[in-house]
Symmetry: C2
């Protein structure tokens, strides 16, 4: 899908521009330096792309979509900075570059994550041309994704996993750690696009499928893609004895599962009476990408 990859690249460039503007200006603060370093490091920007694509199912202003896209990426970046810390996953490289606590120090990394989280809510609150009710729904959606029931509990579970874990428990961990923020990204897009509550429910159901499919594909890429393509050492999960889909059910079953989830996700989208061609393409892309 080379054409669709061009589109993805265009969205990535768009959100990268928006992120540069949304970040606090460089001002001799080590904290702000660390925030810039960690946010502007060439991520895939899947969550912002989901904001854009779901907002385009309805109608929205460019500036509003950009702010929502930046908000979800700020949350994602904060979570990566904290997950990389020595007390957690102890990762020294991310996307081929030193992680925040290696480049700066642990205290700065903790604080950079701490400062990125409220910026997400602040960005949403500061949006003009959007009803306050919509802004409250957006803040609410993001806080739920970030809560003790969402991303943070998912990371707790991930650290506590052992080899006897069931597929259901692994599903729940991924649903919390990765899925909730992906669902919130799609919901934010739908909210600013002005979709109605039935449409939002459909989008959330879609988000649940695609979130898990995305995570399984990530685990497959770790096994199969050479470092030059994926940007991280091939087989790093296995080296760390990380519990993943491939380690639990094998690579073949993992591929089947991610494909099935993508098909279920596409099926859900058919019940939306909206122009879903771009989001359909993204769904297929998520489970076929190699990085």
């Amino acid at each position: 899908m080379p054409e669709f990859e061009d589109l993805i690249q265009a969205y990535q460039e768009r959100v990268n521009q928006a992120l540069k503007i949304a970040l606090p200006p460089i001002n001799n603060s080590r904290l702000v330096d660390a925030m810039h370093y960690s946010v502007l490091n060439g991520g895939k920007r899947l969550r912002p792309i989901l904001v854009y694509l779901s907002s385009e199912l309805g109608k929205t202003e460019t500036s509003i979509a950009d702010a929502a896209a930046c908000a979800v990426e700020f949350i994602h970046c904060y979570s990566l900075i904290h997950d990389d810390l020595p007390a957690m996953d102890d990762d020294k490289l991310r996307r081929g570059k030193p992680t925040c606590h290696i480049k700066f120090d642990e205290a700065t990394a903790i604080l950079a994550g701490d400062a990125l989280q409220p910026m997400a809510y602040e960005l949403i609150c500061s949006l003009d041309n959007l009803p306050d009710t919509t802004k409250i729904s957006m803040v609410n959606s993001l806080t739920k994704a970030c809560s003790h029931n969402g991303m943070v509990e998912g990371q707790m579970k991930d650290m506590q996993l052992n080899k006897a874990v069931s597929v259901d428990a692994l599903d729940l961990m991924h649903e919390q750690k990765t899925g909730r923020l992906i669902e919130a990204s799609i919901e934010l897009g739908g909210l600013i696009g002005g979709l109605n509550s039935d449409e939002l429910l459909i989008l959330k159901a879609y988000g649940q499928k695609i979130g898990l499919a995305f995570q399984i594909r990530d685990d497959i890429i770790d096994v199969e893609s050479p470092s030059s393509e994926s940007g991280k050492p091939q087989g790093s999960d296995a080296m760390k004895e990380k519990i993943t889909y491939p380690s639990l059910v094998g690579i073949k079953e993992s591929k089947i599962r991610s494909q099935e989830l993508a098909e279920e996700a596409l099926e859900i989208l058919t019940s939306l009476n909206l122009k879903t061609d771009k989001i359909n393409s993204l769904t297929s892309y998520v489970v076929t990408r190699n990085n």
Copy 2:
């Protein structure tokens, strides 16, 4: 002021009750255990009391004031958990009990802080009987207090302080680290009390004075109060060679400064055409308390 101390105790009990209800129920999650442990540890609850007192300058419902009081305390507790971490202030005791990372572990402490922050915004969003515009103003006020210009930058500066620091630079550090959340607490109270924008501006100016006065008094207590009264080892700042008001300008000057700030704060309150007797008493209490 024994009568006023009774009133403070009543507010403390009220917010402690509200915090128990606002926390997620214990559910076999180590994360939730850590959140309970760190929030329900007998803090002074100054920020919630400021919410209550400033909300009572206007009119507000009990449930709304409780939620706002819990929100500011969640933020305060998250910041304490992170500030205590080995990479930051490396504190092993807080209020006479093991800090969160000692009782649990570092990863759990980082995540417990991370989960408390969004709960503050979520609490505000979930308030019925409050106009959305007010909720947005409240979220906005809290995010600014928590941002790279507020509490988080203040903690960065605190770790970078050296003995050559000027009083102005120390003021700015305290203003960011402690003052901004105190100001936001007063602002939240004023917002839910329905005060007008002029009154809110006056309250914010008051908050700036009382925030700094509170911090200086804290430093004095560290020097003067026996552990049995203050709940922490007497002279712990000096032992850690921490830069404080007393270390910089001496204990006598520190007392004069905190008294002056309290007088300026009281003077500001006179321009409010509202019944300020309780908040006046609090102002005097802040700079005379011994714990």
